[in-house]
Amino acid sequence: MDQYVPVLIALILGGVVALVMTFASTMLGVKTHSAVKDEPFECGNPPSGSAWGRFSVKFYLAAILFIVFDVEVVFLYPWAVVFRQLGLFGFIAMLLFVLVLVVGLVYEVKKGGLEST
């Protein structure tokens, strides 16, 4: 566990830095309000309501690929470390795994899941 002590120290230090910076402007800066200033920035136009509306779901498709390949990457790490012990056997096992996932990638690309929008 000792090896994680610096992480804890850094976390505390980083937290302090972030905290100071977050509230620095609140403490040091002036605050003024006006009707126009309190609008969300919409290029100088009267705002057209809340931005929290629904958004194109197409962005989701890239995220799916991400989650799948993220799992693959974390499987690859232990494999890479012990690869020299596993030898050919390990190579073939991982090749199969990777190929299966590449099929998924190819499928999504073919289906237009990564198309421009």
């Binding site: 610096p6 402007s25 969300p40 890239a62 090749l95 990564l114 421009s116």
Partner: protein, 363 residues
């Protein structure tokens, strides 16, 4: 107790180094871009009246933070106030604490005590980096969402889609290195790079993994959201993207986050591909030249040389990123996504499998 003090001071040193380098990079960026563009750049620093030399660096390191900290802290009334306040911190903290795993020297011998010049020697070093980088995406997403502004939302979604898309090639590029060196421990990987291939060529990661280096560089710049991958904050498209509604120190935190990420990328490139703190032919007792000569050096000098070599390399790769940032135009969203998924990802996978095959055949 002494051990704890050493660890503590090393950690503080690393955090300070990152913060200061972040500030310095801001100056280097302004001045460097000026050099590239045949301008003068940041030069208003008449602190002590007219000086014969340029004090722009003072300006950027001192005056800029003061300016930013004394700006008004603006929270749009329609925003989610808590998340709007927290988002920059959520984005910055994971990045600030990433750098501590990077070794910046071999050992420092003081009074018979060997101090490893690495703040946190984790046995899962590379995974730690990946984990922290993957956490930093929340700052972008939340900053974009909490502002309740359409530009910010677009920037936030673009940013998160970009960061997750390039995290995979980033991780896969690192796997090539892990395969080559058989370890996740950054200090171990660096030490392994001290070997010589054929007695002449330093066994740096770039020699084993040139493709991984290029993929890592591209994916790393994408992670730090700088040109040509600065779509989430593209000022000519999305105004400032996810930090459109931020001001003062909170905006500075987002910007600092980008710089820190650039430093992390430079640090990792140095450590994994360019020998980290290694100086060619320099061992713990001095230089051992391949042509037979030796040059014995005191241990302290060796350590200094190593730390200096590490710093120089990191600065060089920071500069490289700045050069790229000021030279290239930026991608379009669809090009970015297809570059990440259709080119870099298959390339990285092929690189991993090919590396494995070569290891299998030749070892």
């Amino acid at each position: 107790m002494i051990d704890f003090l050493i660890t503590f001071s090393l950690t503080v040193l690393m955090i300070l180094m990152v913060l200061n380098l972040g500030g310095l990079l801001l100056w280097v960026e302004r001045k460097g871009s000026a050099v590239l563009q045949d301008r003068i750049g940041a030069n208003r620093a008449a602190v002590l009246g007219k000086l014969p030399f340029n004090l722009g660096i003072v300006n950027t390191l001192v005056a800029d933070p003061i300016k930013l900290f004394t700006k008004e802290d603006f929270v749009p009334p329609g925003a989610d106030k808590l998340l709007h306040t927290l988002a920059p911190a959520i984005g910055l903290v994971p990045l600030l604490i990433t750098f501590i795993v990077i070794p910046f020297g071999d050992v420092l011998i003081i009074g018979g005590r060997e101090i490893t010049l690495q703040a946190a020697n984790l046995n899962i070093g590379i995974l730690y980096v990946l984990a922290m980088v993957s956490l930093s995406v929340y700052g972008v997403v939340l900053g974009g969402w909490a502002s309740n502004n359409r530009w910010a939302l677009l920037g936030g979604i673009r940013g998160s889609a970009q960061m997750i898309s390039y995290e995979i090639p980033l991780g896969l590029a690192l796997i090539g290195v892990v395969l080559a060196f058989g370890s996740l421990d950054l200090q171990e990987i660096t030490r392994a790079q001290g070997a010589l291939i054929g007695g002449w060529i330093p066994a740096w990661g770039i020699v084993y993994q040139p493709v991984a280096f290029l993929i890592f560089l591209a994916a790393g710049i994408a992670e730090s959201k700088r040109i040509p991958f600065d779509l989430p904050e593209a000022e000519s498209e999305l105004i400032s993207g996810y930090f459109t509604e931020y001001s003062g120190a909170k905006q500075a935190m987002f910007m600092l986050g980008d710089f820190v990420e650039a430093i992390i990328v430079a640090g990792l490139i140095t450590t994994l591909f360019f020998g980290g703190w290694q100086v060619p032919f320099l061992l713990r007792d001095g230089f051992h030249f391949p042509w037979g000569g030796t040059l014995a050096l005191p241990s302290l000098l060796v350590t200094l040389l190593q730390v200096g070599s590490f710093t120089l390399k990191v600065l060089f790769f920071c500069w490289l990123q700045i050069m790229i940032r000021w030279t290239l135009p930026r991608f379009r969203y669809d090009q970015l996504i297809s570059l990440g998924w259709k080119i870099l990802l298959p390339l990285a996978l092929a690189n991993v499998m090919l590396t494995a095959l070569i290891i299998l055949l030749f070892e």
